[in-house]
Symmetry: none
Subunit: 213 residues, 4 copies
DNA sequence: GATGAATGAGCCTTCATTCAT
DNA sequence: GATGAATGAAGGCTCATTCAT
């Protein structure tokens, strides 16, 4: 038992960390309760500060929400947009998909997705931000590889934008299903990897060149 | 003196219609405001009844929300699960997709989807209901046709469940994107029909038998 | 012992009286505490209603304050502006002064005066209202009689507006002093009537015609 | 490197001036906002010190207010109570009135008057202080000259205290009206000097000996 | 059944005051 | 002495729920 740690932290947390602490706590509480039901008291408690302290760093609850969403999205984005190009466009594409999938399957993505959906009316700029930073960014990334695959005749000739949307759409939706597996029996007995492989396989089949006939 | 009639509405609505009126109003207000921000006052006003009347038919706001979601989902489901089977499984599948697409593109679907997403934590049973009535039901429907197509060698041999999920996932996600076109440039300049055709074409390509090669 | 009355009023107060009850309570609490320090809880309690009820009739604290001031001023104004004209302008003037003095010496005037002074910055329209309804109205009234007195040679020829301001100014200030007698020893040992007589006497002396020389 | 000096103020204010700086800032902020609405943050900022510093010199907001009022009153009082006596009591009286009028028309008087009025309930000792230092002091001063004027038969025989109150009352009230000219049309088109002359003239007429007739 | 006035718990926000540095 | 980040009590306002009519 190391009860001592539960009594008093020896060093106060550095003040420079306050915004981060608060944003982290806000993420958790908003995730659990949604914007309206979340109480600033709870966020403060979870951040280990007093209610008033929040207002030293954020003008109000809405702005805290906004900042938290923006921050979390930005912190999550790690997609190397200029992915290393190997000889095979197919390999590159699959590699990118793997990275994107692991982003979609992180614990933060479904939470953010839900929060943004829920507050679409009140915070359209957040939806805009999400659409740009998550979807459009992914779109550019995948579109590039698919285009390359077409040019190299690894893929059949098709509108790369369409293929990209199919790819993105099915990945995003599968990620959401996977995060609520109990509700969706068709993914319930599959692991994340299995699901990913199935998606990849399906997409590649759709992209494969037409039979020579 | 019949002065009173000149102010009052000419026909009183039948009392039996009350629950329906309230549910309809609830749908509109919840759609616009979300659960927490919706005020019973507004719902009552929109339903043309008094606030107290709502409590004659629903025990509280949460239950009204639940009932509204359940009701709206049920009212929307029109998918003929045993669709008429023609000679071509491909034709049957496309026909089913067309029906499902028009359901997904109805004005109620994206609203319901958002409400359910937002209240996932507090009303898991609604998510369950949605998963069953909308996704699983669609899953059974499409799976059947794909299975048939495989058996008839119209489609390549693949796990029909996987194909179904890809089909459903991309349709649902495209529907959501289409309902917020301004945020998603890649669907912005396309009509619903175009998007549908693109999805169908892509899916059918993925399903087509492997080249004889 | 009539304890019964302290348990439950037999009849609820008529709802039409609510605004009046609240305004009355507001007057008392604002009088004691000022705008900022007054708590809506206290006003509600004193009005015998709940906090929420106040918001059924007034949109917020400030508006309640405004309404209370306006209302109280209007309720106090009873100056017969077209006072009956007797043969003597002097008598008429003194009669009017007596009426105005009793208004100024009412328990509400000093309270209102103080509240308006205190909130001059935030509610200039109230000061405007007071200036118009209390001062300007009195000005017109007295000016008329003084003008008449000059014409009838009961008073010396002087600017009636100046005389009126002197009259009003000294009456208002004396009223304020009288309402805090303990602070102002020079009025402490005098009754209201005495003070009034002194003011009247002084004013009439100032108005009396110049010596024939 | 003397980079630091380019940001910092060239001369640090002497610590002994701190209380004065704070009191001055307090006067301004209390004047603009009133006691309740004034924020210590603003006072600190205006004084060029930090919030905590205020508490090094004043135990709390109320005491700061008290001190500020007392200080400002004392700083304003410049009335030579034993004004030089010339041959004419009338001239002396007018001279004193002129001095008092310029005090009443200073920018600080109406502000203080309003603050004291507003906080009458919570700070009766300030009202007491004002009554003594401003009104009673003026009373003694004017009473003396009027008494002398009566003895020298420059004025008619009347209670000098009554005359003094009339004089003070009308001057104070006119000063307040003049400081809110837009609300009081009867002084709006008159200059301070004109108003003063009118008051003086009226008072002297009221004091002049009765006609020999 | 229907109404809508009344209730009061609950929460965001402010700001005087404290205190570690 | 001086700072300003942190605190937490207090209060305005909202709105789901009740209930007398």
């Amino acid at each position: 038992m190391v009860d001592s740690t539960s009594i008093e932290p020896r060093w106060r947390r550095m003040p420079e960390e306050r915004p981060r602490q608060i944003l982290d706590a806000a993420f958790e509480v908003f995730a659990e309760q949604g914007l309206a039901a979340a109480r600033l008291d709870d966020i403060a408690k979870r951040a280990g500060v007093s209610k008033g302290t929040i207002y030293l760093y954020f003008p109000n609850k809405e702005e805290l929400f906004r900042e938290m969403v923006r921050n979390t999205i930005l912190a999550q984005i790690e997609i190397g947009e200029q992915a290393p190009e190997t000889a095979s466009a197919t390999d590159d594409l699959v590699e990118c998909m793997r990275g994107y999938w692991s982003f979609l399957r992180s614990s933060t993505f479904p939470v953010l997705y839900r929060l943004i959906q829920a507050e679409l009316r009140n915070f359209p700029e957040l939806a805009q931000f999400y659409a740009e930073e998550v979807i459009a960014r992914g779109h550019r990334l995948f579109c590039h590889h698919i285009q390359r695959g077409i040019e190299k005749a690894e893929f059949r000739a098709l509108d790369p934008s369409v293929a990209t949307r199919m790819l993105l759409g099915s990945m995003v939706m599968h990620s959401l299903w996977c995060s609520k597996r109990s509700f969706f029996p068709s993914v319930a007995e599959r692991s994340d990897e299995q699901v990913f492989d199935e998606i990849t396989d399906f997409i590649l089949h759709a992209l494969r060149p037409a039979p020579v006939a």
